[in-house]
Symmetry: C2
Subunit: 241 residues, 2 copies
């Protein structure tokens, strides 16, 4: 049995009872070192497979092999393991290795939802979620999605907005979207959601383009109706009062 | 203090401790009758404001007024109250009525995430979330988003796919998307997520167009790489094995 578990934003108060139960029942827990650290007090007596970032395939293979012989394995990640997470890779790896243990995905609260809650209520209308990481996706495909999503009037959530190698990607993304939507479009970002040093800011798209953010930041770009009410970023659903 | 709380898919094991705590601390709990029913054993000693569907504005006004004099109010909804939920309306109503109690959004697991987990791992790449309800959005705007989202290669999640008055909307949506993407695109849907009678199906887009679904159904339309592995709907992230 392999449970692929989302731990939510990082605050233990936002891990679901279902996720905690699946974790408690597991014999082996696998994950990226940083996530393993978050739950280290829950791991007593368990075998732990912690690997650094960029070793996703190897981590999944180790976890899949550990599940053989009906051992219970938990693969953990922050947020929701089904959103840009390890869930798909884990299923692919089990198929590749011919390991036919049962696989279950236990959802968690993903950064789009937790960032929206910190900012106010920007996602009460149709939205698109786009990762700016070009490690696994050609930048041209990302540009096409930014272009069409902003033309379509979606609220847009950006994951992985930056890294050392792509320090100007957020600026490029904002410039591209400003061809379709106003620079006055209201936006917001949240850094270190649910963790020490949580921080957020609400600003216009033309200001966002000049902002320095880090890889622990989630960004929300409003649609044409998004506004700031009492310091909160709000996309009205459209009810008449 | 007003907490706008998402209860997740309906299964109590997926309500976060933060949401339970905010609920326990509240003096008044407001919500749509069906959601109040889910948590009725947690409401002892609390004032309850339960109103039927279609009375969203009135329900928010009642909840906002109940918060005056520093009473703690919880406005509950299923999924995440920030995703097509009451969060934005609640903030707007407080502003309109000049009620300046603190407002906090407590996120929950939204149907996109819980449906994805039931189906497998379809949301491990960029995705768009679109409601097919035209109660508050012109159908032309919905069509534009379906068109551009399918041209952009997003995985697409459909909320509110049907109702009595719009029995053919899913069919229209599928036909529109099939102008841009193959009818063989792998899709899935989940009915009654986290509740009695939970049910799911994986099928091609051309089959989805002829399917009868109800309003408690969440639909996922894959991208061109989405495939079925061991009966699960999987969108590969793109890792090389």
């Amino acid at each position: 049995m392999i449970n692929i578990i989302g731990l939510g934003p990082g605050d233990k108060q936002q891990i679901t009872p279902l996720a905690l139960e699946a974790l408690a029942e597991s014999d082996v827990v696998a994950g990226y070192t940083v996530y393993i650290d978050i739950i280290k007090d829950l791991l007593e007596g368990k075998e732990v497979i912690a690997t650094p970032m960029m070793q996703e395939v190897e981590r999944c293979k180790m976890a899949a092999r550990a599940a053989q012989g009906h051992r219970k394995v938990a693969m953990v990640s922050s947020g929701d393991a089904g959103i840009y997470g390890m869930a798909a890779l884990m299923i692919e790896v089990c198929e590749e290795l011919g390991i036919d243990e049962e696989i279950r995905v236990v959802p968690g609260i993903t950064a789009a939802n937790s960032a929206a809650a910190v900012l106010g209520a920007p996602l009460t209308h149709d939205f698109a979620v786009i990762s700016l990481s070009n490690l696994l996706t050609p930048w041209e495909a990302i540009e096409k999605r930014l272009d069409l999503a902003s033309k379509a009037g979606f609220v847009i959530v950006l994951y992985n907005p930056t890294s050392k190698k792509r320090a100007d990607f957020l600026q490029k993304a904002c410039d591209l979207m400003m061809k379709n939507i106003s620079g006055e479009t209201q936006c917001g970002y949240v850094r270190n959601i649910g963790r020490e040093g949580q921080d957020h800011k609400i600003l216009a798209l033309r200001e966002l383009r000049n902002e320095t953010v880090d890889m622990f930041t989630t960004i929300v770009i409003g649609n044409s109706t998004t506004k700031v009410i009492r310091g909160k970023l709000v996309t009205p659903r459209g009810y008449r009062m």
